[in-house]
Symmetry: C2
Subunit: 289 residues, 2 copies
């Protein structure tokens, strides 16, 4: 262990992406920003600071409640969408490697060795933060995947619904990703868009009307934004605000679908803004200017 | 196993919430709707149909790749926000119980028995769907928690950031939930709101200006919605659409914060709409009427 971990810290000293001493918010910073972020710049560190870092990492690794095989569960989650990408196991080396390389790394129980997700496919999971659970035996790798995570080419490894399988055990394709509310809606809108484009375009729907009528869609978006504001201006009940915000989200997501923009891209924009100069300062300057 | 699993199926026959034969979209249906959903109504089932269901569940349980201790990893995820709530292990009985009871159930390795999350705290995790991964040895419980999941009272069990711990190992409180982009933004806005309310209200920010000026906030929301529409009407690049949508999201989320509405509540509204009569039909009727 000592040798490989030493190697990890070595790479930690030379990589420009290192940001061990960066706060949560700073963890959003992208590669370009990392390079100019002096507190974590390798060259500025004194040797004794590195030793101190090494000691801190060792203490942290000691605090993990490794099981009788020296393993803990690691769950990789998409930092923008929240999708659970995959789950594997880590040993001490794997976690140390992930901390230093910032690429999600696991311990393969079948091959008895470390493996970094993406080492073959190049679909790395780039780590933004790592979380330990209350019992210190379960870990979240919060990261941004370079491409599909599953070896099947699927975006995540979770695409078999138990209830679908029970309904149709012989189903040729029971391929439905585990989607949370926002992405389930995005998927539904995307299906309607595909139906609109096909000759047999299924039953009529409001989404399809919006997809086919730009004027209607844009007038609805402006109208729903206005209604959302009025729930505040006219001091309406908060349930009205939630309902109008749902309308805003739905209609704007139809527009996103028309423009082939994924909600994930929008969230990435927000994440970058809040970590770079900050939307707040930028906007503040613009308004004051 | 046979006895307890038999018991599970027994409960599956009598509970009105059972919806084993419901599609993914139908899985969003709430309790009230379940009761009137005839294809899964217990009373309408013939005995041979139950046997067939029992066989299907057995086949499904056989397909899971249980480890040498008869366990698989189970990850509980919030169906609305995507937050990873907790992670435990399941054996065959625990998964069977979750399928029939629709309450996230695990196998406690320390106590060598089943436990249903919430059996003591009443903070159950109500299952909406269950997913198996490509290797069939890892499971997602996609559900809605009744309250905080962690025994500490935290919303999720993942609140210790490795990078925070390395930065400040002796930190009294390194309590930052593992938040994805949307909820990280929500948390930042919420912090600004708290600062606005305190006597020492920190440094100036655009968010604070918006929080203090209703007129400015509402005019910005209407303006950003208009700008989003114009990216479509004027056939602008899709990166412009993503950027304007980010503006819409940010400004509307400041309004949500003022009204004490969580994004989770908005997503719950959307989820219920798309599963009940469907926003599409409802809106379609309203427009045609």
């Amino acid at each position: 262990m000592a040798v490989s971990y030493s190697h990890c810290l070595q790479s930690l000293r030379v990589t420009p992406r290192t940001r061990l001493f960066v706060s949560n918010v700073d963890c959003w910073r992208d590669n370009r920003i990392m390079k100019s972020y002096s507190p974590v710049s390798a060259s500025s560190k004194k040797p004794h600071q590195d030793l101190s870092l090494e000691a801190k990492v060792e203490t942290l690794l000691d605090s993990v409640k490794w099981d009788d095989k020296g393993l803990a569960v690691a769950i990789a989650q998409n930092v923008d969408t929240g999708a659970v990408l995959m789950q594997g196991f880590v040993n001490r080396d794997a976690l140390a490697t992930t901390i230093s390389s910032q690429k999600a790394t696991f311990y393969s129980r079948s091959r008895s060795k470390l493996w970094t997700k993406g080492e073959t496919s190049l679909n790395f999971i780039n780590i933004h933060d790592i979380f330990l659970d209350c019992d210190r035996d379960s870990i979240i790798y919060l990261g941004k995947p370079d491409g599909p995570t599953c070896h099947t080419g699927s975006e995540t490894c979770y695409y078999s619904s138990v209830f679908d399988l029970l309904k149709n055990p012989q189903g040729e394709e029971n391929n439905n990703l585990a989607l949370t509310a926002l992405y389930s809606l995005e998927s539904t809108i995307s299906q309607r868009k595909a139906e609109v484009a096909s000759p047999q375009n299924g039953k009529p729907s409001w989404t399809k009307r919006l997809l086919l009528d730009d004027k209607l869609l844009c007038s609805k978006i402006r109208e729903e934004a206005d209604e959302l504001c009025r729930t505040h201006e006219e001091n309406e009940d908060k349930s009205r605000t939630a309902s109008e915000m749902a309308d805003v989200l739905y209609h704007t997501m139809v527009l996103l679908s028309l423009k082939d923009v994924k909600m994930e891209e929008v969230l990435q924009v927000l994440r970058h803004r809040f970590s770079q100069s900050g939307i707040e300062e930028k906007k503040s300057r613009a308004t004051q200017g």
